[in-house]
Amino acid sequence: MNPAFDTQQLARQIRAEALKMVAAAKASHIGGALSMADLLAVLYGDILRVKPEQPDWPERDRFILSKGHSCTGVYATLALRGFFPLAELQTYGHDGSRLMSHISHKVPGVEFSTGSLGHGLPFGCGKALAAKRRKKNWRTFVMLSDGELDEGSNWEAILFAPQHRLDNLVAIVDYNKIQSLGSVKEVLDLHPLAEKFRAFNWAVKEIDGHNHAEISAALKQLPFEAGKPGCLLAHTVKGKGVDFMEGKLQWHYSSPKPDQLQEALRQLEGTP
C-alpha cells in the first residue's frame, strides 16, 4: 500500500479534531465519528478522486454521509484535506455556523445534507443511476450507520440498486453494533447482515473497519463484482481510539468534559 497520504496520521487527526469540536460545542455523537474515522482517512487519503480546491469538480467521486449525526468526522476530514480552513472547525455548533450538527451541503465538499436517517442511500442510488445513464466513470460512496438500517427507505434502496446494476455504488456500513438506546442486537438485530445484503444481490466484503490495509485493498477493487452494487461491511468499534469510549453506549450522546478531552487527545498522541 502506498497511499497518497499517511492515512494513519490522517485518522489520528480526524479523531482529534472531531473530539475537540464535540467537546467545545458540548455536542453528541462522538462515538460514531470515531468508529468511522479510519474509513474516512482511507477514503479521503487513498481512494476518493476529489479535488479540494475544486469541490464541485464534475468528475469527482461522490461521497454521501447518510449517518449525518457523525458529521464532525467528515468536517474534520474535509478541513484536513484542504476543502476549507482548519480554523473553521472551531465554529462547529456555533449559532449561524455552516458547520451544523448534522452534515450540511452548505459546507464545501459535502454533497448532501442528512440528519434524518435513511435518506443517503436512495439519494446515492439516484446519483449512481445518473452516472450510468450518462456513462460517467465517477463512483458514489454512501456511509451508513448500522442503526439506520432500521429505516425502511434503506431497504427500498437496497432492492433498487441491484435491479439497476449500480456497480458504481458502494454502501459502506459503519457496523459498530451500538445504536441510540442500546446495542443493535437488543434494538432491532441486523444479524446476519452480510447475508441480508447478499440475498438482495449485493456484492459484499466484510472487513475490519479499523485496518487501513484491509479498507484500502477492498476499495481498490471496485466494483466488487460487475453488475452489482458493493457493500463494504466494516466491523468497527464505537468510540474507537479512546479507551474509555470504546464500545460504550454512553458516547452516542455524551460530550467529553475538559479532562476527558485531554485524556482522549493524550491517548491519540500515543497511538502509532
Binding site: 451541503h105 454533497e111 448532501f112 445534507s113 442528512t114 440528519g115 434524518s116 435513511g118 435518506h119 442511500l121 436512495p122 439519494f123 446515492g124 442510488c125 439516484g126 446519483k127 449512481a128 443511476l129 445518473a130 452516472a131 445513464r133 450518462r134 425502511g152 427507505s153 427500498e156 434502496a157 432492492l159 433498487f160 435491479q163 439497476h164
Partner: protein, 303 residues
C-alpha cells in the same frame, strides 16, 4: 389531464434533454409512449416512494429535471420527508406529479382521496405548487415548469376531463376571469372549476352574474397575483380539498376581504363513491355551489 400531461411532457422532453420521468409502478396506458421514446430518461422505481423520491433528488443533483409520477397521496404524503429534506431544502429540480386530485379516485377509498396535499405541501415554501383545472391548464403548467425547473408539485385530475376555457397565461398570473362578469368572484383551483362554471351558468339563468376565476398557481404567489380580486366585495373559494391550508386559506393570507370557502367538509371524509357522488355529498357540485352562493350575505346597502 394525465393524457395532456404525458403528451406535453414528451414534447418538452424533446426540447429539454434533462427531463427525466420516474414512476412508482403506476401509469399503465399513460407513460408508455414516454418510456418508448426516451428509454434513457425513464425509470419505473417500483412501489417504493421514499426511495423513488430520494433517488429523484439524486438524479436532479446531477442535472436532470426529474418528474416523479404516481397517484393520490403516494408521491406526496408517503415520502413527505424526502420532498422536504432532499428536494426542497436542497432546491433540486424535481416536479412531483400526482394524478387523482381530490375525489378523482373516489371509489378507491380514503387512501386514494387527495384532500390534504395542498395544505401540507404549501407549508414547504420552496415548493412551487400548480393545480391545473383542465388539459389546457395542464399543458401550460408543464410548459412553464420545463422552462423553470425547481422543486415543485403538479396536482392533476384523472382522465377525460374536458377543456373548460381558452384563457392562457394563468400560471404566473395575475389571476384571470375565465367566465362571467358579476360582482361576486368565485375562485376555483383544479378540475372542480367545472362545477364553478356550471354553477355560474345556473345562476346566470336566474339573473345573478358571477365572475369565475381559475387559480392553477398556489405557490409562490407573485406580487399582484391576486390584485384582480381586490375590487370584489364578495368572494367565494372552491376547492376539492379540506379547508386547512388550501385555496381559501391562501386567499385569506393575501386579501383583506372575508373569503367564505367551499371545501371538503370533515363529514365527507371516509365516504366512498364516485367523484360526482362525493362532490355532491360535500356540497361542492354545481347545485351545492349555487345554494351556498345564494345563502351568502348580500352586498352592504343592497339588502
Amino acid at each position: 389531464m394525465r393524457t395532456a400531461f404525458i403528451n406535453e411532457l414528451i414534447i418538452q422532453a424533446r426540447r429539454h434533454p434533462e427531463i427525466f420521468l420516474v414512476v412508482g409502478d403506476l401509469g399503465f396506458s399513460v407513460v408508455e409512449p414516454f418510456a418508448a421514446e426516451f428509454p434513457d430518461r425513464f425509470l419505473n422505481a417500483g412501489v417504493a416512494e421514499q426511495n423513488l423520491t430520494g433517488a429523484a433528488a439524486g438524479l436532479a443533483s446531477e442535472g436532470y429535471h426529474v418528474f416523479t409520477y404516481s397517484i393520490a397521496n403516494f408521491p406526496t404524503l408517503r415520502c413527505l420527508e424526502q420532498i422536504r429534506n432532499d428536494i426542497a431544502y436542497h432546491r433540486l429540480p424535481v416536479t412531483v406529479v400526482s394524478v387523482g386530485a381530490g375525489f378523482a379516485y373516489g371509489n378507491l377509498g380514503y387512501s386514494h382521496h387527495a384532500v390534504q396535499d395542498l395544505g401540507i405541501l404549501r407549508t414547504l415554501p420552496e415548493m412551487t405548487i400548480l393545480s391545473p383545472a383542465d388539459p389546457g391548464e395542464t399543458r401550460e403548467s408543464l410548459q412553464w415548469l420545463a422552462q423553470n425547473p425547481r422543486p415543485s408539485y403538479l396536482r392533476l385530475g384523472k382522465a377525460g376531463e374536458p377543456d373548460l376555457h381558452n384563457v392562457r397565461g394563468l400560471t404566473q398570473g395575475p389571476l384571470k376571469i375565465v367566465e362571467g362578469t358579476g360582482d361576486l368572484a368565485l375562485v376555483a383551483t383544479g378540475s372542480i372549476l367545472k362545477e364553478a362554471l356550471a354553477a355560474a351558468k345556473i345562476l346566470a339563468t336566474e339573473g345573478t352574474s358571477v365572475s369565475v376565476f381559475s387559480c392553477p398557481l398556489l405557490q409562490p404567489v407573485p406580487p399582484e397575483f391576486f390584485a384582480p380580486l381586490k375590487k370584489y366585495p364578495r368572494l367565494m373559494a372552491l376547492e376539492e380539498h379540506l379547508p386547512a391550508g388550501g385555496l381559501a386559506s391562501l386567499l385569506r393570507e393575501h386579501l383583506p376581504q372575508p373569503v367564505p370557502s367551499l371545501a371538503v367538509p370533515p363529514k365527507t371524509l371516509g365516504l366512498v363513491g364516485s367523484q360526482e357522488y362525493l362532490r355532491r355529498h360535500a356540497g361542492l357540485d354545481a347545485a351545492g355551489v349555487v345554494a351556498t352562493i345564494k345563502a351568502l350575505p348580500c352586498r352592504a346597502g343592497n339588502a
